[in-house]
């Protein structure tokens, strides 16, 4: 597979920001993510799991799906792919990286984010619109939101239960690194209703629900609550 890129002059006129979207064998949501990036006004750049360079992208999204069939553990094998070595190095130097669903699992397996994802406590695959509260609106991927803002975006997974030891959870809370919390019924047994977290620097964010499926009024939730993730990073890149 060769990597190609596509450009769309977006409504915000930030069409020169290049956002990479990684495709592993088994990734499902890469196309939707590319589309969300274009709708937000960025340029979506395809990255393949075997790529050994990041094609000069300004940020990276690890999209949802079942990379490597979720064999061993969700995200465990993807974490050792050539493209991830580049991304892990970049993330440590400040490259904005967003992990959605399976992407979040890859980020915890890579130890770019603390904790781990486990099978939902009820053992069922869940697929529904999920209300969340944006707890931290200062990260590279959430600065278009207000702290405390409620959004609704789709949630679809079976390995969505966030766990970490008590000390790590306390640390995350104290440092404001719980980025998103589930509202209403906890859908999977995630500790402290955590739906997503950020690293200390705010450039690496992971969450289980899917913002890329809520970017157009005609499909998904019927709202565009997810678009802010992608406008956030574009805003961040312009002001950087």
């Amino acid at each position: 597979m060769t990597a190609t890129s596509s450009t769309a002059a977006g409504p915000t006129g930030l069409g020169n920001a290049r956002i990479g979207v990684v495709t592993f064998p088994g990734t499902l949501d890469d196309r939707d993510t590319q589309r969300a990036i274009r709708l937000a006004g960025g340029e979506a750049v395809e990255l393949w799991h075997r790529d050994k360079d990041l094609k000069q992208v300004d940020a990276v999204v690890l999209a949802g799906g079942f990379s490597y069939g979720d064999y061993l553990r969700a995200g465990a094998i993807s974490r050792f792919s050539p493209v991830m070595e580049m991304i892990i190095e970049g993330a440590r130097q400040g490259l904005p990286v967003l992990g959605i669903c399976n992407g979040f699992q890859i980020l915890t397996e890579s130890h770019l984010l603390p904790g781990a994802m486990l099978r939902n406590n009820h053992l069922h695959f869940i697929c529904r619109d999920q209300r969340l509260r944006v707890e931290n609106a200062d990260t590279a991927w959430t600065n278009s939101y207000e702290a405390g803002q409620e959004i609704s975006i789709p949630l679809k997974n079976i390995d969505g239960r966030y766990v970490a030891d008590e000390r790590t959870l306390d640390e995350l809370e104290a440092e404001g690194r719980v980025a998103f919390r589930y509202l209403g019924m906890n859908p999977n047994g995630s500790l402290r209703d955590i739906a997503g977290i950020t690293n200390a620097a705010g450039n690496v964010v992971g969450l289980m629900p899917h913002p890329e499926h809520a970017v157009e009024p005609l499909i998904g939730t019927g709202r565009t609550d997810g678009l802010g993730f992608f406008t956030s990073v574009l805003k961040q890149l312009v002001s950087a």
Binding site: L72, R73, A76, F80, T108, E109, P114, G115, A116, L118, R119, N120, N121, H122, L123, R161, V163, A164, D165, G189
Partner: protein
């Protein structure tokens, strides 16, 4: 060829809903007297060459960095004779 077995189990404090589901099914199937079930993974490694300390150290490293996620799982390495 030497065989090394790596067992990976969720840490005791981590909820194991799969083990619980197995446990709940037991009375229905007529198996009584089981107080708890925890489900884990077993890897059987067929090792090429001599199984010396260096080889075992590499397998330990493999288990720690890849076969198990030590955030949530414990593992044991043993030579299967």
């Amino acid at each position: 060829m030497a065989r090394v077995v790596v067992d990976v189990m969720l840490k005791p404090e981590i909820l194991d809903p799969q083990g619980q589901a197995v446990h709940r099914a037991l009375p229905r199937l007529g198996f009584e007297g089981i107080a708890d079930v925890r489900q884990g993974k077993r890897f059987e490694l067929e090792v090429e060459g001599p199984l010396d300390d260096a080889a075992l150290a590499r397998i330990h490293e493999m288990a720690e960095t890849f076969l198990a996620n030590t955030v949530i799982e414990d593992f044991t390495v043993r030579v299967d004779s």
